[in-house]
């Protein structure tokens, strides 16, 4: 497991989501990327019922890259802490059993899905984000699989990303990566970045 960087790619005026995916696909392919299936990351949010006291939210995320795991990210009642539990996929079944206490927020199921490419040590995923039937924008995930330490490979990742995404990739790492620049990262760090982006999409009306 390497370092994952998730980047929002703003949809240019007058272009549709599939058109942008086509353009990016050509660019990734010309960089040596080979199409290797597709991917999906989805997120459903459950909130506690009133009789349970202070409101808490559980975000349940799945990633097709790690199909046997469920990521349950709980926003504590205090609001300033998130507990990230990684569990077997029967956790979904348990969540259904908890429906008297935690209920899925309607119309907020959000997912990013699209083609997946391998380019040497890099994994590139071009995701179209949809909430329900509505297209919300494009998220590009780049993973450098050969290293788990951002401090050791950020420059390489940045150069690779700028190669096909252009100027939208800043020279400084995203805040999430910056805060963990000297740490070993794992699958949960990719999931945390997806949740951050999904929450931002949910707050935005229209396309980002």
């Amino acid at each position: 497991m390497g370092v994952i960087v998730l980047q929002l790619f703003a949809v240019p005026e007058g272009k549709s989501g599939p058109q942008v995916i086509d353009i990016l696909t050509k660019r990734v392919t010309s960089l040596g990327g080979v199409l290797s299936g597709s991917f999906m990351v989805d997120c459903e949010t459950y909130t506690s019922v009133a009789s349970l006291g202070a409101t808490r939210s559980v975000h349940l995320l799945h990633n097709s890259e790690t199909p046997a795991s469920v990521f349950a990210l709980l926003e504590a009642a205090s609001g300033n802490k998130t507990v990230a539990l990684v569990a077997d996929n029967l956790f979904d079944l348990l969540m259904l059993k908890l429906s008297n206490f935690y209920q899925a927020k309607k119309q907020t199921k959000i997912e990013s899905r699209g083609p997946r490419f391998e380019a040497g040590d890099f994994l590139v995923k071009l995701g179209s984000v949809t909430m329900g039937p509505t297209f919300k924008g494009i998220l590009v995930e780049v993973e450098y699989q050969a290293c788990s330490l951002p401090a050791a490979c950020w420059d390489l990742i940045r150069e690779f990303m700028q190669g096909f995404l252009g100027g939208c990739v800043p020279s400084t790492p995203p805040q999430y990566i910056q805060n963990r620049f000297g740490d070993m990262l794992g699958p949960i760090d990719g999931i945390n970045q997806y949740l951050e982006q999904f929450n931002a999409f949910r707050k935005t009306t229209g396309i980002r």
């Binding site: 999906m40 199909p67 709980l74 504590a76 990230a84 539990l85 077997d88 008297n100 899905r113």
Partner: protein
Amino acid sequence: MAGNQNPISAIDMLTSALRSNIIPNQEYLLQGSVIDSSAEVLHNRLRGLCDAAETGPETFHDHEMCFSLKASSPGGTPQQQQSFLLRVRRALDHPEYPWQLRYLGQPELGEKNQPTVLRSCIDIACTPNVVEFLSELGCRIEFEYVLKGYLFRKGRMKVTMSKIFRMGQAKSPDSLEAMTGSYLVELSLLAPSGQDAVADEIKVFAEQLRPLVHLEKIDYRRLQSYS
């Protein structure tokens, strides 16, 4: 999954697994106990009857915590409050193993001729921060104990012989205090729902142990009303 052309969403996968009845979420269970002085005889009998007789049984040393999630309904008495129980288990002798989160439904005793207790059961391996997760979820710890014993397998059946220890104040393994002078014996099998024929298989095996231990359907509601 990575090579899959069209990944199926986890919820769709779960729904179709539920529909085709392939999730082993029903536990068939018989329980009994054997006094310490006779434990060795039962141990030897089980060793002879169960699989891997040469290597002997696996041992386990687990810590189990039971949590409850309660929603208070305004004006309701505590009995009217809904309560949801979840258990967390960790292997004290193998700290590197994943922790286990377990949901157990109400045991169904069924008709008199139903050979075993049946209860729904979901076992989920998870990361060690599950205790913090459950606390933040709103759960409160109800009780905890330590189990130490042997695990035998006979095909799909699982037989455990374990001693229950009270968790000392210091919560260190040295401060363990045995709760009784006997071993708890459990014979169980996890299967998808609708496979009731396995209950007979369990009953037949329990009969083979009958001279040494009586494995029965235990009615918890009855036990609670005695205490």
